[in-house]
């Protein structure tokens, strides 16, 4: 029997998961915008973020420190990957960039297993985030609400950075016309590094936020990468923000699908993606 309370919890759950998808897709879009390559290491960065948050918050007892450490560690990793590896390849050598990122993802995933073991872990949210808020028609678990709010704040901050600041104007110029931006004296190379670090940091943060929600497992990165790529495709060509909308949508659809077809809720997402692309090939907010 599907009651309105159950429905409400599933929608809340979907929004929280969707907020994580949105963070992942946002990071992927930023990297893709400047580097023009899908970051196949994005899932591994998500995984690293989750484990770093688990280890740091477990060790220090501070949930916030865990979040911060996860975002900082993955941003640094992203910077290193771009500076030391991706930069050595020609722009536009897709296959080589992809394989490079594929190799990097393998190394990161296996390093996590080597350090922390292949077993799953669980992480509990801090005490002040347990329990639920009553929204009147349905309860909304506090931690889920926290994820939605945290993701919204971060996405809004990055939005403001890109749309409203001096650096953001340069990032947008670098995405739209890299050669022109370069010839106007903008250091596009530095922007690419910054964008990679930013995107990677968002992935790490998403991993840290996900850890108390879903628990930790070594396959969480791969699963997340696959869905995040779908979300970017659904969001649309050339649209950084389409992914945010698509992420929330996919989260809610997946969560509701779990009520009716519990085993196939992930398959439903991919089927939905194929359906949307058949009807609207440019994606939800895509142009062209």
């Amino acid at each position: 029997m599907i009651t309105s309370a159950l429905l409400g919890v599933q929608v809340a759950n979907g929004l929280a998961v969707g907020a994580l998808y949105a963070l992942m897709a946002f990071g992927l879009s930023i990297i893709k915008g400047l580097l023009n390559v899908p970051n196949f290491a994005h899932g591994a960065l998500f995984l690293v973020g989750a484990y770093v948050a688990w280890a740091v918050s477990g060790g220090s007892g501070s949930f916030w420190l865990g979040l911060l450490a996860a975002a900082a560690a993955t941003a640094l990793l992203g910077m290193a990957i771009e500076r030391l590896l991706v930069r050595r390849l020609h722009r536009g050598a897709y296959l080589f960039q992809l394989l490079l990122l594929f190799g990097t993802a393998l190394v990161m995933e296996q390093t996590v297993i080597a350090i922390w073991g292949g077993l799953g872990r669980s992480m509990s949210p801090p005490p002040w985030l347990t329990g639920a808020v009553d929204l009147g028609f349905s309860p909304f678990p506090r931690y889920l609400l926290f994820i939605v709010v945290a993701a919204a704040v971060v996405i809004a901050a990055v939005w403001a950075l890109i749309e409203r600041t001096w650096i953001g104007a340069r990032i947008r110029a670098g995405i739209e016309r890299p050669e022109m931006a370069q010839s106007l004296g903008i250091d596009v190379e530095a922007l690419v590094t910054a964008a990679f670090a930013l995107g990677a940091g968002l992935a790490g943060l998403a991993g840290a936020l996900a850890a108390p929600l879903t628990g930790l497992s070594v396959t969480m990165g791969t699963d997340m990468l696959a869905i995040a790529l779908v979300v970017v495709v659904l969001g649309g060509l050339g649209s950084i923000y389409g992914g945010v909308l698509a992420g929330l949508l996919v989260g809610v659809v997946q969560s509701l699908a779990a009520l009716w077809v519990p085993q196939a809720s992930t398959v439903v997402i991919y089927a939905a993606m194929i359906l949307v692309l058949a009807v609207r090939p440019q994606g939800l907010l895509g142009e062209r």
Binding site: L95, F96, T104, Q110, A226, V233
Partner: protein
């Protein structure tokens, strides 16, 4: 057929004959099966320049379809083989038709998404596929073709001969496809899609056809793989396996289809030896992938090309 093709085929045939002397039958069989899977990816990745990260899905659909038939019905091998090839071919056609219209980066992401669609479908459909435990209890058929006397495929040497014949035959067909007018159109579309279209070629149709053919041969490789260990593991469908197949094509050399079996051999032997060294061998493998991409983009065939002049000089035969 050019002289270099004849030499390549000769070397391939020779290697197939010699392999069992150096490796176990099962390793040699696995090597040939992945050689076929990589060669099947070549028309799309190497000739067409379409970087498909959905090859494991095709391999897996073939393996699960053929494997299910072999687990549930005592049919001659012909039928599971055809069913696997047809299922993978049909799926590849649908996947290709939807993907080839997208520009490069979205193409990659879409093929990846198709791969995950298949992965989760197989994962969720536990009653039929065995879910995350894989499809078990696959029996190698007692007969190859209807009305013919039986053959004991559970003997490793018989199975190896069967795999060798099928793989070599498929490789000949794939070579024919690469050299065919279809191959030329794919190559033209890779070099300049607009010009190729302007000349009047329907490049999307050619690319979809390449996908379909790639699916058929990947499916055959999948069915053989399902027989190899009497089980179809779900890992074979995971995206990592798609990445591995792309890597095999690359490490062998993107310039020739003969690189595909070489790449598969390098991969399988690397995997076998690394896994003896350390449980976390994929970490070492990842480092090797990074190294190859940064320093050896032409693959093993290019390495051979770089060494040849040096060898000639050493032997003094290159005195003009």
């Amino acid at each position: 057929m050019t002289r270099s093709r004849m030499v390549g085929l000769g070397v391939l045939a020779g290697s197939i004959l010699v392999a069992p002397a150096l490796l176990s039958f099962s390793t040699a069989s696995e090597l040939l099966i992945f050689g076929l899977a990589a060669a099947a990816a070549y028309p799309v990745i190497g000739v067409g320049g379409l970087f498909s990260f959905g090859q494991a899905a095709l391999f897996g659909i073939g393996g699960y379809t053929g494997g299910w038939l072999m687990a549930h019905a005592a049919l001659p091998l012909l039928w599971p083989l055809l069913a696997g090839a047809a299922a993978a071919g049909l799926f590849a056609t649908a996947m290709g038709a939807m993907c080839v219209r997208r520009s490069s980066i979205y193409f990659i992401m879409l093929t990846f998404a198709f791969n995950q669609l298949v992965y989760y479908a197989i994962y969720s459909w536990r009653g039929v596929t065995g879910g995350q435990d894989g499809l078990a209890d696959i029996a190698r058929p007692a007969r190859l073709l209807p009305y013919l006397p039986g053959v004991n495929l559970d003997r490793p040497v018989n199975f190896y001969v069967l795999v060798a014949v099928i793989v070599f035959g498929c490789f000949l067909l794939l070579l024919r496809i690469v050299d065919s007018p279809l191959g030329r159109v794919l190559d033209a579309a890779k070099q300049n899609a607009r010009r190729a279209a302007a000349i009047g070629y329907d490049i999307h149709r050619a690319q979809t056809l390449a996908f379909a053919l790639s699916g058929v041969f990947s499916g055959i490789a999948g069915v053989l793989y399902a027989m190899l260990y009497w089980i179809m593991p779900i890992d074979a469908v995971a995206w990592v396996n798609s990445g591995n197949l792309v890597f095999m094509v690359l490490i062998g050399g993107l310039g020739s289809i003969f690189g595909a079996p070489i790449g598969a051999a390098v991969f399988i032997l690397l995997q076998d030896s690394l896994s003896l060294v350390w449980d976390r061998w994929p970490l070492l493998f990842g480092l090797i992938v990074i190294g190859v991409v940064l320093f050896l983009q032409g693959g093993v065939l290019e390495l051979g090309g770089m060494l040849r002049p040096a060898l000639r000089r050493a032997s003094g035969a290159d005195a003009p």
